[in-house]
Amino acid sequence: MLSKPEGPDRQFPSQPGSGAGSFVRREIWGPGVCGGPRTPGACVDQTGNMEELDGEPTLTLIPGVNSKKRQMCFDWGPGEMLVCETLFKKKEKEEKMLGCPFIYIVRKDIDVYSRILRKLFNESHGIFVGLQRIEEESTGKSRKAQLVRVSKNYRSVIRACMEEMHQVAIAAQDPVSGRQYSSQVSILSAMELIWNLCEILFIEVAPAGPLLLHLLDWVRLHVCEMDALSADVLGSENPNKHENFWNLATLFVLQGRLDEARQMLSKEADANPASASMCRVLGDLMRTMPILSPGNTQTLTELELKWQHWHEECERHLQDGTFASNPHLESLCKIMLGDDSALLEQKELLSNWYHFLVTRLLYSHPTVKPIELHFYAQSSLDLFLGGDSSPEPLDNILMAAFEFDIHQVIKECSIALSNWWFVAHLTDLLDHCKLLHSHNLYFGSNMREFLLLEYASGLFAHHSLWQLGVDYFDHCPELGRVYLELHIERIPLNTEQKALKILRICERRQMTEQVRSICKILAMKAVCNNRLGSALSWSIRAKDAAFATLVSDRFLKDYCERGSFSDLDLIDNLGAAMMLSDRLTFLGKYREFHRLYGEKRFADAASLLLSLMTSQIAPRSFWMTLLTDALPLLEQKQVIFSAEQTYELMQCLEDLTIGRTESRDLEGQRLQDDDIETTKVEMLRLALARNLARAIVKEGTLEGS
């Protein structure tokens, strides 16, 4: 049901060597929704996440893995797990078995991969971020109103999602996927039901009186059969003859929609003059039922008095047998008296115990107080189920809500629902209502943070939704940063644009270590692609001196091989970034020397060249090249190097040759190279001597004149 094998199509990225023959198969499991027989070995346990374990952890069997015959190994990843077969050699030789060619990726959160639920995640992300921005200072009514609005926004997103899922379920071609979508619809529907109740009880905190109105709205919103039935009956040619006429009338009464019920009664009165008077009496009772209207200023006591009076009038009519001749009307009257057995007769129409509860409250305890709710809820559940069946998870969750046990609600939801979205967002909202502050877990941080971390980790395991996860981590004060740091490093950098987005995330949060590592990866990639300019830009951005040196050396090597520079657009515009490493400075300055030379600014070029050597910026290995570069300057018609500069050049040459003779003694070979080298040195010496002579003459002449 939950496993979705997708064929052997994906190679696991972190195992480049295994690409040739091995394949990866993907399975998906969801938290809390499990099945399969309990076999040891290749089973994954799914533990409850609260303080204590709630019974046995459920087991999920990974399809296709035969753990009885094979040895298995596994490894955890963020949100994923790898499972594969191993072949340990046993002492006694067994018959050779072919190994399983698959590596399984077992994923935790199935719902993240639903196309439609992606909309839920994306849209609610915006609401979540907005909620975190609500100022702490705002208190009292405005804050409550804000929080209620946020809650309604969340619900509206769930509903929108449910709508779409429903459309897809109807349109689905094959019954299997149709069923899957339908089950998603019912899960979403349950989520909204629970959320709505939590909104009424925990966020709205409606007092006695308005509480019942909210609960009525809640039931009306979630019992869907009504509209189809209403359209069917009232749209028919002759509603009174419709087989469901009385069912609809009863439903209207059960939901407290008495105006609509009265309209139906008047239709009945028109059609059956015999029962017209009875209908009028019942209609009057419906009209006169006292209800709390939002704009009304009457007190609860007044309402209770009026209601008591009305109730007695109803009772009198029933005892007088006013409706005795019409069982339909009589049963309606009984319902309006809040008679349990009359209500239970309508079990079919009520469809669930919480509808029963609300109708019961409407007609027998209209001013129920919040703290009394759990009592009525429990008795309604017991009466409704009547010992026939045991309560289901949804019933337990709603019951916990009626008991105002928030932690129990969240716990039950975590176990029952197939994703972390619901509990994470609901808990966060309730935390903003300041309802959870006393609760700390014995590990990690508090419950809100724990759930948000789980949810966001699920998002990060997704190839595309990871961007949403960032904001959730941001709002986890204790561990969010660490989670983000660990997750963000694992996002594959397919394109520079993606890398830039990730870098922006890191830079905004001053995650310097991650910024450096991402830039380094990009620089390394660029080097592998022979894109030295790119590599240099990335290492400058990472302020990575060592790597900048490495790239600069590559540039210089290329220059020595080709005699010209590449990527001049970058090197000419290094600016202050040149100071990042000595080698980079040298590269920039050396290029500047070439530019000056090209521009025929020989004097500037000469002094720059000399300073490169005297300041020790130039690496020794490069001195010979620099001295050779000085040759044409020495041979110019006019004197460029002054006598003093020439002495310095000579000094450099001598330093270099002394070093060289020593190393030559050690190696004692490479004769041909030596020949060229010796010729070069001889030429340099000659040129230097001649230049010195000319310089001395010139300087002497200048001073003399």
Binding site: I116, N122, Q467
Partner: protein, 424 residues
Amino acid sequence: MCLSSVALSRVSLLSQSGCWAGGRAGRKRRTQGLGARWSYGLSAMEEIFAKFVSQKISKTRWRPVPPGSLQPAETFVTGSWDNEENSVSLWCIGDFGNLSSDGGFEGDHQLLCDIKHHGDVMDLQFLDQERIVAASSTGCVTIFLHHPNNQTLSVSQEWVGAHYHIGPGSPSYRSAPCTGIVCNSPEIVTVGEDGRINLFRVDYKEAVRTIDNADSSTLHAVTFLRTPEILTVNSIGQLKIWDFRQQGNEPSQILSLTGDRVPLHCVDRHPNQQHVVATGGQDGMLSIWDVRQGSMPVSLLKAHEAEMWEVHFHPSNPDHLFTCSEDGSLWHWDASTEVPEKSSLFHQGGRNSTLLAHPSSNQLNVNQSLISSWLSTDPAKDRIEITSLLPNRTLSVNSLDVLGSCLLCGTDAEAIYVTRQLFS
């Protein structure tokens, strides 16, 4: 804010009907009166429709309307990125001239057709009414053909490996993302992370012209300047002008931001004044350049807080300019105001005070003015009105396009926003 109020009304609407199953087919978002609330009525964006599409949108483009047509734009194409399977999708605004029951304008967009795209969609351009050119992170450039009869897309031509890296030493080729394209039928120019510029012509198998190593860094975007000339921006803050009439690998001109080599991500040319160019950079700055003179921007405008992904002059109303950014904002720059009584330089919009724009002075800076265009240097007319068009900022707005009174943008939050009443 506005979105949320709409969402609220949806709940109440549903609760009236009492049952979601009988709900309305499409989902519609109306964001009303944004601009009116934030600025002084100019370029008030009356309605924005948002649709969540379950894929991160990297590019959005309106289909050009046929010449002479007075119809507003109604078809657009989007490309996705970072999905396991990416696609190019064609959408149509489901507008049949009717008003919906609640008096609103039914402007929800519906998917017409889509086709798988190998790799992230890095850029998209309409070649003509039927043909769309897509750039891929795999280095491939594809022309998709739309068949209006049966509403399908098909691959009409493909240049696989248009952009690639050559590894050091060995002749191994690795694909490099193609980052930008510009079309002038039948010619297509592409640039990529490999610093290469390709000139393709439709129906020619090979590139007509290739400039290898045109740039030492990544080329981020390209646009036509004058017919044989193109302009590229790169990741070290340079604009380069290339003339295809010249042989060799050297640009005919280099313009650059001074100092920090801030990468430039987007470029657009003024539709009427071909020497005026706008670029957007990594620091969110908007730069206006006059390519005839100087090698530095005429003005630098402090704008977004993060990478500016796209900048577009309004094609027929070029005093208006639109930008979008990684910081999740979409801005409308209006340089057409000539109202003398408005003394403030810029109107603050929205809840975020960052909407203030400061013409930051660089060495060459001259105050930009607006009367004839973005270059004028008369400080008395130094006025740009900026309106933020999206209500709540979250994730990056990757792309925008504007045509007539229609504006379109796509985000990393997997939403497409459309408005058709830009200047109402």
